[in-house]
Symmetry: C2
Subunit: 195 residues, 2 copies
Amino acid sequence: MTSAPKIKNQLKSYINRYIPFSAEETDSFFKYLAIKSYSKKEILLETNQVCKQHFFIIEGLLRAHYTNEKGTDKIIQFAIENWWMTNLESYVRETPSNFTIDTLEKSTILSISKDNLEKAFIEIPKLERLFRIIAENTLVAIQRKNEFYMKLSSKERFLTLQRDIPDFLQRVPMYMIASYLDITPEYLSEIRKNL
Amino acid sequence: MTSAPKIKNQLKSYINRYIPFSAEETDSFFKYLAIKSYSKKEILLETNQVCKQHFFIIEGLLRAHYTNEKGTDKIIQFAIENWWMTNLESYVRETPSNFTIDTLEKSTILSISKDNLEKAFIEIPKLERLFRIIAENTLVAIQRKNEFYMKLSSKERFLTLQRDIPDFLQRVPMYMIASYLDITPEYLSEIRKNL
DNA sequence: CGGTCTCTTGACGGAGTTCAAAGCTAGTGG
DNA sequence: CCACTAGCTTTGAACTCCGTCAAGAGACCG
């Protein structure tokens, strides 16, 4: 468990990667956030629920996944410290989520509700800019991920993941990596055997 | 070739699908738009150019595509009457486009530059709402398309396209449909043979 | 009417899946 | 602290989907 001042600091330095935010501004924003601890395998957003919050990971590891018609899990995304996790489509349109968000590790999570975010936008106009930048980054990330799947072979997808986010390989079991890469665990094992 | 008043009307009824816009508001917006006619195979946005405009299709058929390392064309998107076409990432970030936009038919296109759109936002604040909605729809469309590729077999992708946008099948040669579906023309031919 | 563009056919091969089974590994309770 | 078990990873064989290559058959256009 991380202490509140430490959490606030972590958030501040995250924000400062994009915009300068004073301690006071960070404080104002922080008021609107909820801190919560989760153990492993807890659910933050259920399939078919409307996503009413953005989640920011202070510590831990989240996953977004759905179960397909064959009953097997397909992992859409992992997220670690200093990443946002949400279902943007569900959040924006207030439609039922088509995936579940849950923890793969004991995690400390900040969350902000839609209502509170609206209030925060009014109190701290600069936040609009931050969240626009985050939305743009999300859009670009989605397009990058498309290219990742469309242009690369499964071996290349694995190597790219290993190069770009080696953390995942350390912290996530291989069959989940396989699911994320959209191949079977058996074939991933084959790939890894041949370097 | 379509006449200017008719074009204005078409734009107005498009906008009214999302927000009520008076004739005056439509007129104000229309001032910022350029009308241009293109013949078949003309290029609207070149690869490596920065995308400085949004395009709205009054009449005709556009395509977004790139050439991969093997020298074969991959089609990312088709667009027909009353659709917007742009490279949002390139437009927003002012980075070189990684695909080309060109015409597959004789087309009549409205375009609006970034500068003009900014001016129009100031003159007609309601436009902000329209373009936010369009941006949201784009994001949702991108996610849908992801699912289209990730969840469906090539046969199902073909059937979905046939069901949802039969227009494309009438107006676009099969080898381009194949490229869009991410399969070879030979295999698409196979699929179609077996219903 | 000749050529380019488009669609189809068939043989072959490779990438990746499925199924079944065995071998590891790590967490848990006793 | 050990032993057990559930969770995870690997193996191999058979099979499927789909790409590649090569060739031919229409169809459209000047």
